[in-house]
Amino acid sequence: MFAYIVRRLLYAIPILIGVNLLTFTLFFVVNSPDDMAVSQLGEKYVTPEAIEAWKRKNGYDKPLFVNAEAQGVGAFTDTIFFTKSLKLFAFDFGRSESGRDITTDVSTRMWPSLAVALPSFVIGIWVNICVALMVVMFRATALDRWAVFVFVALMSISYLFYIIGGQYLVAKSWMLVPISGYDPEFQPWKFLILPVLVSVIAGIGSGARWYRTLFLEEAGQDYVRTARAKGASEISILFKHILPNALIPILTGVVVLIPTLFMGSLLIESFFGIPGLGSYMLDAIRSQDFAIVRTMVFIGSILYIIGLILTDISYTWADPRVRLS
C-alpha cells in the first residue's frame, strides 16, 4: 500500500511537468509576451516603449529558456520558464497581471467555493442514489420507463437554464432567499441554499440515470439470484447486496471529484455572486489574466492527481478483491 502510494506520487511528477510544459507552450511560445502586452494594454496605447515597460513590470522581459547574459545557474533561473513556470512547483504563484498576490487570493477564495461545492456534492450524491434505488425497485414497469424518460429530459436541459430558472422562481417570484451574494459573517447558509439546490437538481438527470444503470447491472448478477434463493426479500437484496456492490463503480466516478471541489463551480459562483475560485477563474478568463489561469491549471491538475490516488485507495476499502501493489 505504502509502496503503491509512493509510486503514484512519483508518477505524478512527469504528469505535472507535462502540464507545465503544455501551458508554457500555450502561453509563451504560441503567444509571445509581446502579444500579451498588446492585448493587455489595449490597442490605443501600443507603443514599443509601453510594451517594454509592461513586460518589465510583469517580469516577461527575460528570455524563454536560456539566459545567455546571466552567470552560472542564472542562465537557467533568470528566464521566463523558470520564474513563471517552474516556480509553481514550489507553490510560488507570483502576482497576477493586475498586481495582486495570487497565493493570498487562492487561499481566501477557496473556502466560499468549498462552502457551496461540498454540500452540493454530498446532497447531490445522496439524492441521486435514493432516486435511482427507488426507480430500480420498480424495474421493468411503466414507472421505470417513464423515470428514465424524465431523467433524459432533465439531462437535456442546459445548466444555464437551471440557474436562471432557479433564480427566477425561488428568489424572484417567491422571494424566499437572496438572489445572489455571499457573506461569511451574516447567515451564510441563506446565500447557500439556492446555489446548492440548483446544482443538486441540475445533477439529478444524469446522476440518477447513471446510478440506475449501475444498479441494474448488479441486479443481473448471479449472487443476486443466490440471495433470492435464500429467501431474502427484494428490499433487503437491494440494500444488502446490490448497493454495496454498485458502490464500487460509483466510487470511481465520484472520489476523483472530491479534491476538485476546492476549485468550485464556474457558473454557479458567477451567477450567484459567490467570491470563490470559480468566479475567480471566470474573471481571469474574461480579463485575460493569464498568470491566474496558469496557476489555476496547475492547482487543478494537482487536485486531479490527488483524486486519482484517492480513488484507488477507496477501492481497497470498498472492494475486498483489490489489493494495491
Binding site: A3, Y223, R225, A227, R228, A229, K230, G231, S233, P244
Partner: protein
Amino acid sequence: MSGDIRLRVKDLRVKLPETGEEILKGVSLELRAGQIFALVGESGSGKSVTSLAVMRLLPEALAITGGAVQVGEQDLFDLSESSMQNVRGRRVAMIFQNAMTALNPVQSVGQQVAETLRLHTRLRGDALRQRVVQLFAEVGIPDPEGRFSFFPHQMSGGQQQRVMIAMALACEPDILIADEPTTALDVTIQKQVLGLVRDLTVSRQLAVLLITHDMGVVRHTADEVAVMYRGEIIERAPVDDFFHSPQQAYSKRLIDALPDLSHFQSMATETPLLQLEDVKVYFPIRKGVLQRVVDYTRAVNGVSLSIGRGETYALVGESGSGKSTLGRAILNLEPLSGGRIRFQGEDIGGLARRQMLPYRKRIQVIFQNPYSSMNPRLSVGEIIAEGMVSLGLGLSLEERNERIGQLLDRVQLRREYGSRYPHEFSGGQLQRVAIARALAVDPELIICDEPTSALDVSIRAEVLDLLQELQREFGVSYLFITHDLSIVPSLAHHVGVMQAGVLVEQGSAEQILTAPTHPYTQALLASVPRVDG
C-alpha cells in the same frame, strides 16, 4: 422406489412471451427423501429453466404458463411472493453452477451463510456464528473458524462450492436443487464435492434434484435419471437400468460419449516432427516502489516432449497447469524463458516475426471458444481465406474460392456457407470452420487447445471423429490440449500429464490410462466417470 415424495412437479409449462416459444412442454417429476434425481440434457434443453421455475426464480423474460409444484400439500405457484420467500432457503434450497459469481464478492462467506439463518431462524450473535462454523465443518471446510471472515475470492473453487452447500443446508431444508454444481470445477475437486452431496443426501434424508450435462456425474451420484430434450423429458429410469438398457437413441448417444477404456490408438510412426527440450515460460512478478522483478510465475517449468508425424499427443492437465501457455509458446505467441523448440530439427524457439513466417504455414491452431475465435465482422469465407492470403500461398481469387469450397465440403459444411457470418452458426459448426481455417494452409501440426470443451457431448463426438478422419487423410499431427481425460483413449497415441508447469508423467495412451504410476495421474484417472462404474 422407496422414500417419501417430498416434491412433485406436475406438467410444468414455461413460455417465452416475446416470441411465444415454448421452453418447457409439460415436465413432471418427483423428488424422494434420501434420493438424488438427476435431470440430464444439453445446453438449451430446459433443465436449468425447470429448476428455476420450481423456485419461482425465472428471469422476467420467461413466464410460467401452467402446471404445479407441490411441496407436501402446498402448491408453490399458489403462494404469495412473501410466503414464497419463506419457502426458499427453508424448505427448498438451491446451489448454483459457478460459485465464484454466485457468491457476493464484497461480503464475507460467513456473513453470507449467516444471512440465510438470520432470515429463517431466531439465531443471533454468537450462537449464529457458532452455527455457521459448525456448518462449515460439516461441509468439510478446513479451519472453519478462520474461514468465517474470508471473502469468496480468497477461497478455491471447491471451497466456494462448499460454502454454497453450507448456505443451502443452513436451515435444514427438505429439498435441495443443485444446478450443475460441479461444472466449473476441476475433475479431482468435482469428485470430492459430489461425494459430499451424496453423503449429505443420505445423512440428512434430503430430496435432491441434480441438474447436469455430464453422464459421468449421473452414473456416480444419482438414484434416478431423466433425460431432457427440447423442453420435454424423453426418458426416465432408475440409474442402473438407464445405463444398461437406454430406450431412446438420444440417450444412447449421451452414454456413448463416456470413455471406453478398452480400445486405444495403435502407435503411429516415430519420425519426430516437433521436439520440446526443457521449455520454460516464466511471467515476472513485480513489487515495490520501482516495480522490480522479485520473482517469476513459472507457468511452464521445463517441459520436454516429442510429437511424431501423423500422431496425436494429448496434453492433459487441470486449469492453471500451464498446458495452454505451452501451446501458445510453440506458436511463438509467448516468449520463451528457456529451452528449445525444434520443428523437424530446426530451432524455432524465439524466432523473430519474419523468420517465423515460413513455420506459421506449417503449425496451426484451433482454439477452445469457437465464438470468440471468429471475427464477427468477416464472412466465413474471408475467415478461411485469411491464412492463405497473409501467408502468400500465391493463389488467384478463383483458386482461393474453389479451395474454400473444398474445405467447407471436407468439414461437412455446405459450400454456400462461405458467404455467411459467424453469428448464424452453432458452436459445433463454428468449430468445423475453425478446423477448415487451420487446414487451409496445409499444416503439418495443429495445436488443438480444448477444441471440444465448449461443445455439447453429442456434438463433441462428431468434431473429434472429424479430426481423426482428417489425420488419416492428410497425415497431420495434433497436440491436443485438454482437461478431459475421457476423450483421450479414442484419440491420442501419446499422453502427457501436466501439473503446475511440469510434465509429471508421459507415455503411450494405453500405458497412462491403464497403468499410471504418478499419484496425480492416478487421482485424475480415478475421477473419470465410466459406464461400468
